[in-house]
Amino acid sequence: MASTVTMTVNGKSVTGAVEARTLLVHFLRETLGLTGTHVGCDTSQCGACVVHVDGKSVKSCTILAVQCAGSEVTTIEGLATEDALHPMQEAFREHHGLQCGFCTPGMVMSAVDLAKTNPDPSEHEVREWLEGNLCRCTGYHNIVKSVVAGAKAMRG
């Protein structure tokens, strides 16, 4: 049975038709056209789909759109301003924290959540925090470097 759901995505109120089984990631990608959020697995393990729901990082492939009714959702598209990348995005670019880029939206969203709760994370803390974000390309080294630098830039 289809119904409609209303939530705030990247600061804008949006309403769309969903089925009960529609996952948040499908609502974002297919209904709203926000394809920056990726799907990399069907076992809830890869983290390519991480977005923020009410300020917390969540796997958008493992939450229903209807569960997010009334919530504030931030996706990778919501980080940059008109004329500047978010400091965490800028750090990934500067430190070559990506190769193919598939895992990057989830990495960046997880990293921003970490920096909010732990503004000065050690390399070890970054590695622990990113346990649910898999990258098949980089070997993680530059991702960790990027996150440490991005967190520093966010501190200002």
Partner: protein
């Protein structure tokens, strides 16, 4: 995923009524196990009853000599709780080792124990600490709650509301994690308290169990050396692509010793 009717009740009574009248209803807590199962089409419930609106089931409070945690409290909230860290640090540690941050932001204590995955972490704490599970119908002793692989003492549609953990003198958890899934290949929860010493093992068998030989040895002498020569038999333990039963038996000894050493 097959479709279903979605409900978000505002009270436990409403949730119980909804599950009672659904043709083949399922309760949903954090959805971290249930939604992946539905995505794989391994289940086809007619109705999904989301417990996410039940504020009464969320929270951590000290009640006398126990810490009482609501069923819908997330792993992340338990890991970060000052109350839990102070009263039962081993429990906060356990919660902080479940999955990854995004899983801990959604997954709940109630969902973990009701699912009773053989590799789940919480069952170890529930059994070793001698916790009590409160449902909308009764209370169940922690040790009687876990009855088999993915099986519990819950009746059809019964809803877990909270778990009360008596505060021990010492309690520590050690876990050998599967590096890909982060679930326990073997976990040992060791507690010393008014009920003596308890050693609960997860990951190794079809469901959590107490290692009574180790408990007896540790009751006489609470130190890693007391269980130095003790070996857990491999019979009846799980063997799979991640670890053979023999290897798991070996890890039972190693993890228990580490937990005792960490308890100091």
């Amino acid at each position: 995923m097959y479709n279903f009717e979605y409900h978000k009740p505002a009270s436990v009574a409403d949730a119980a009524a909804l599950i009672g009248k659904a043709e083949d209803g399922k309760l949903m807590a954090g959805g971290m196990t249930l939604l992946p199962t539905l995505k794989q089409r391994l289940a086809q419930p007619s109705d999904l009853i989301d417990l996410g609106g039940l504020a009464d089931l969320v929270g951590i409070k000290r009640e006398g000599n126990a810490v009482v945690i609501g069923a819908m409290t997330t792993h992340g909230a338990v890991a970060a709780s000052a109350e839990v860290k102070q009263a039962i640090p081993g429990l906060a540690q356990l919660a902080s080792w479940i999955g990854d941050p995004a899983v801990r932001n959604r997954g709940t204590l109630g969902g973990s124990i009701c699912n009773n995955d053989p590799a789940a972490d919480y069952p170890g704490a529930v059994v070793a600490l001698g916790a009590t599970v409160t449902t909308n119908q009764r209370t169940i002793a922690g040790e009687d709650f876990f009855t088999g692989m993915f099986e519990t003492a819950l009746e059809e549609g019964e809803i877990v509301q909270s778990v009360s953990f008596p505060i021990p003198e010492k309690a520590t958890y050690e876990k050998f994690r599967n590096p890909a899934s982060r679930y326990a290949i073997v976990g040992a929860f060791v507690a010393k308290g008014p009920n003596g010493v308890r050693v609960a093992i997860t990951g190794a068998g079809p469901t959590v169990f107490r290692w009574k030989e180790a408990e007896a040895a540790l009751a006489a002498n609470f130190s890693p050396s007391a269980i130095e020569g003790l070996k857990h038999p491999a019979d009846g333990l799980n063997g799979d692509i991640h670890a053979s039963a023999e290897y798991r038996a070996h890890l039972v000894g190693v993890m228990t010793k580490r937990a005792v050493a960490a308890a100091g």
